[in-house]
Symmetry: D2
Subunit: 134 residues, 4 copies
Amino acid sequence: MSVAQQMLESYPKSLGGVDREKLRACIDACYECAQACTACADACLSEDTAAGLAKCVRTNLDCADQCDTTGRVLSRHTGYDANMTRAILEACAQSCKACADECALHAEQYEHCRVCAEACRRCEMVCRELIASL
Amino acid sequence: MSVAQQMLESYPKSLGGVDREKLRACIDACYECAQACTACADACLSEDTAAGLAKCVRTNLDCADQCDTTGRVLSRHTGYDANMTRAILEACAQSCKACADECALHAEQYEHCRVCAEACRRCEMVCRELIASL
Amino acid sequence: MSVAQQMLESYPKSLGGVDREKLRACIDACYECAQACTACADACLSEDTAAGLAKCVRTNLDCADQCDTTGRVLSRHTGYDANMTRAILEACAQSCKACADECALHAEQYEHCRVCAEACRRCEMVCRELIASL
Amino acid sequence: MSVAQQMLESYPKSLGGVDREKLRACIDACYECAQACTACADACLSEDTAAGLAKCVRTNLDCADQCDTTGRVLSRHTGYDANMTRAILEACAQSCKACADECALHAEQYEHCRVCAEACRRCEMVCRELIASL
């Protein structure tokens, strides 16, 4: 059982009607994607073709920041606000889609973009599944 | 001229058709609100009635995180993505509204909630003005 | 192979003389600890005894922020600066120690503090191992 | 009176023996520097010479993250831990020094690097003054 799951299991109050497995998957995906995007921005920067990857670096940085915030918000259960959570999940799904699309353009050439595009695609999907279940 | 404004003026490429003054106001408001919410969460925590302020602390923490991300995203102009920017601004406006509403409930009793509610209200407003201008 | 490890393997330039396995362990521990501390702060907040856990909440929030920053810095390899990396790792080890010590005080009573204390202790240890190997 | 100062004044408990003016200056400098570094990383990225500025972008990103964390930690006063605060301030001063030194190399050529170098130098200085006063 991952630490995120142990923390979820040890929350002392009710989690309301949330789908616990979808929530856990989304927390994990957000932290994983935040890390992948941070690393991909840096890997792009180290390529000799960095100037041509400027948009990819920027989208990676935005996506890392939004996934970080979303992972934090989903790790909190006290005083849940459905409208705020939904808007933040929408922003995260949109950021992940933008970053997956951008990284996919370079996925054949750069392994870091291929791995990152997959992490973004997974994160977008679990965000949308969580939104649908709210 | 603030540092944020100097950085905006020194961006070497075109900023596109963005309303420069609305953008600057929104960057400043996001950083200001992120700080206020972080401090208000801590001030609530130090009140003897902290248990009754749990929802306020949590909303403050979420709002601080989303404002932080939004301030970062707005500070970047390279490879602008309108859909992502819009979704992130919507999430920020929604977070600021939730936090302003929550802090307003305690504004008469706690000065830190009064100051924070005003910072959130201002940030929500400039986010919405920027969205409208995109 | 975790996503963090895949990203490390796909970095296109040399990682210098760094111990790759210690680096990977430290990146993983930082993200894991950041999540655990964010969740533990929220769980403490939901306890009826929240006012008595104010110091624990605060230390959790600081540790989450510092681990987040450290995880990001370690995910970057371009233009490595040994002095900065060392100082940031020291701050992270110190934050994890403070948070582990504080959570340990409540570990028998609260499962979330027990899980979080262990995550902090692990993260402190791998930070110190990475510092020693630099 | 800035919002950060109003938040400081409205903290309901004692701030201990901290130098209130040095603390306020340091909070403001951390948020200002975090924004400047985020914007400078992006401005460097948009230069046609981006590949040659890779180290500058990376140092900017690290410094933005550490200043962000330090600004948050300094905005909290509940359950103050001197050792952790000191280590985080040291990491921040070191990050600001590294970023100021790097940006200074390009300050004559790029206005964004000149403005950012000054913000980093100021932030380093007030961090060191706050450390000395603890």
